[in-house]
Amino acid sequence: MPQFTYTITCPQGLHGRPAMGLAEAAGALSSAVTIWKGDRSARADRLMALMTLGVSQGDSVTVTVEGGDEAASLQALEAYFKENL
């Protein structure tokens, strides 16, 4: 499964506004996006699950994509993470 690993730099972590933004961005993609923190995971377009994952600034997460145009989704997500998170 295509994936990348990213260390969250935004001070809020994946809470509040950053989580809302990511859920929206992931929801707009053709692939199913999953965020992994250690062995726990959440669908990126499910806001509440994403928030309860409890990702904070400095945490390293792995992002996987499945289905649809995986290459395009992965590229878009990497750009989104770098820009916003």
Partner: protein
């Protein structure tokens, strides 16, 4: 009058009758289970209505509390669109045969429990958000709702208050709550809307309609307040408004006349406290920092570190705006116990200003080193008093350069420092062009300029800086400075005289430096000129 104490959550004061916000009006109704399809349709209809309401509250909060305060309503909307949450509601209806309202409340409890189990206090607070959106939808489904708030202003009292309800209570001037998380969105919104809030008081429904005064900072609620409390409230509120206006002034841009000519508005100061006041009153910087006060009334002159500490405090108080430090001008009417040399018969015409500093190079170097080091903290300039010739300026600058080189050798940080000249002798005004070649800016000291031009003690009320000879010297100083592109400003009593502002600007002055308390009136005066 009755005084109750709670805990302060948001400061501020408000006086108005109390409105105790009751629990839901009626218990609502239930239609009975109308089949899974029917319940799903009713849920979806209520959800859409809830989204509309949240959208309206988002816009309202955006206007009253800004983007950060309004964000909660975006979050609630996003939560109400969460696929997992919707799946759970559907499951509750289809699998468990729950009515729409019960199904959404049950899903809300489930998701809120997940948030409550988290360690992060911010995320734990989100449990309340999930409960709130499910109650909102359930309320729309069952027809239960809260009492409409009264018209006019009031202090809202309640056990707790959701962000949505807070937006509905449009007339609320303050909040009295039994519970309110300081990290929660209600607190955040209240702060953003400048509402005073106290917590920890059990609201009594009998308070409704009673006149009251709320002091958020003190955590106090006065029921049926007496006149003294109300007068105090007004006075404190007035003072805070003044302070707020001061804070707003920090954001003010340069002062311009109506035709758009920008005029430097500077303050004279002699201490960090005066500097802070100047910033609060809209000064673009300190145009004249007097340093004599540091040296007077003591047996030995202050050392480099002591001077440095004080200059730093002033620079920090000005939050990065330019501070022009005038080097020591002792002599004349100011004499310190540690000063050596014979007592002069005619000290106004004795050893003073730059002449005295150049005659005491150790003392002068100490001050220049402190100024150079302070300049590492923010924009700083130095200016020399009672100059009469370019040679004096060159000597002072040479010493300044030597001090900088020494600091470099000692690995002590120093900042860039412009060097300016005070024009306060006829000699300086007449040699303005020569002085402009060797300096970075001029500041005209009108009090001494008048004294030395008119041969009259500056303390004498007849010593008038508006004398045509003094004004002519000012004109020449401006002309000489501008010939070399040096900005010329004026400090001294003349600068604060509103009757002279127009004439001074007509002479071509780039800025005026006045005591902090004169900044507002001078700003108004300049802005009123053509």
């Amino acid at each position: 009058m009755e005084k109750r104490f709670g805990k302060s959550l948001c400061p501020g004061r408000a006086a108005a009758p109390v409105f105790v916000d009751g629990p839901a009006r009626g218990a609502g109704f239930t239609l009975g289970f109308c089949g899974a399809g029917g319940e799903l349709a009713r849920f979806e209809e209520a959800r859409r209505a809830a989204l509309d309401r949240l959208e309206g509250q988002y816009r309202q909060a955006l206007g009253r509390a800004g983007e950060e305060g309004a964000e909660i309503f975006r979050l609630h909307r996003a939560m109400l669109g969460d696929r997992d949450f919707l799946d759970q509601v559907e499951e509750n209806i289809q699998g468990r045969g729950l009515e729409a309202a019960a199904a959404v409340l049950s899903a809300g409890e489930m998701f809120s429990a997940q948030f409550s189990a988290l360690e992060d206090p911010y995320l734990r607070d989100r449990a309340a958000d999930v409960e709130e959106i499910s109650r909102l939808v359930a309320g729309l489904l069952s027809g239960a709702g809260e009492a409409p708030p009264p018209a006019g202003d009031y202090l809202a009292a309640a056990d707790s208050l959701s962000p949505s309800r807070l937006m509905e209570l449009e007339g609320a001037k303050g909040l009295i709550l039994r519970e309110c998380s300081p990290l929660g969105h209600t607190a955040l919104l209240a702060r953003a809307m400048n509402l005073p809030v106290i917590t920890g008081l059990e609201p009594d429904p009998a308070w409704t309609g009673r006149p009251a005064a709320l002091d958020g900072g003190e955590g106090a609620l006065y029921l049926d307040p007496d006149q003294e409390v109300l007068t105090q409230f007004q006075e404190k509120t007035r003072q805070e408004a003044l302070r707020a206006a001061g804070l707003a002034a920090r954001a003010l841009g340069p002062v311009c006349t109506r035709s758009g000519r920008a005029v430097g508005l500077w303050a004279n100061a002699a201490s960090p406290e005066e500097a802070a006041r100047a910033l609060g009153n809209g000064a673009q910087g300190i145009g004249l920092l007097r340093t004599e006060f540091l040296f007077l009334r003591r047996d030995t002159p202050p050392g480099e570190e002591e001077q440095l500490a004080l200059y730093r405090q002033v620079i920090q108080a000005m939050e990065g705006r330019r501070v022009v430090i005038r080097t020591l001008d002792l002599g004349s009417d100011k004499r310190a116990p540690w000063m050596s040399g014979p007592r002069e018969d005619n000290p106004a015409l004795g050893l003073r200003g730059i002449r005295r500093s150049l005659a005491r190079p150790e003392l002068f170097s100490t001050q220049l080193r402190a100024i150079l080091r302070a300049a590492a903290e923010g924009e700083t300039a130095v200016m020399f008093p009672v100059v009469t010739s370019p040679e004096e300026v060159l000597q002072a600058r040479a010493l300044l350069d030597r001090c900088r080189a020494q600091l470099e050798e000692e690995n002590l940080p120093a900042g860039p420092v412009e060097a300016g000249v005070m024009i306060e002798t006829p000699a300086a005004a007449l040699l303005a062009g020569e002085l402009a070649r060797v300096s970075d800016f001029f500041s005209i000291g009108s009090n001494d300029l008048a004294q030395y031009t008119l041969a009259m003690d500056r303390q004498d009320p007849a010593c008038d800086p508006r004398h045509p000879a003094v004004l002519e010297l000012i004109r020449r100083a401006v002309e000489g400075g501008h010939r070399f592109g040096r900005p010329v400003s004026l400090c001294g009593a003349l600068a604060a005289d509103p009757a002279m502002t127009e004439e001074l600007l007509a002479l071509g002055l780039d800025g005026l430096s006045v005591p902090a308390e004169d900044l507002w009136s001078l700003r108004e005066r300049i802005e009123g000129l053509g």
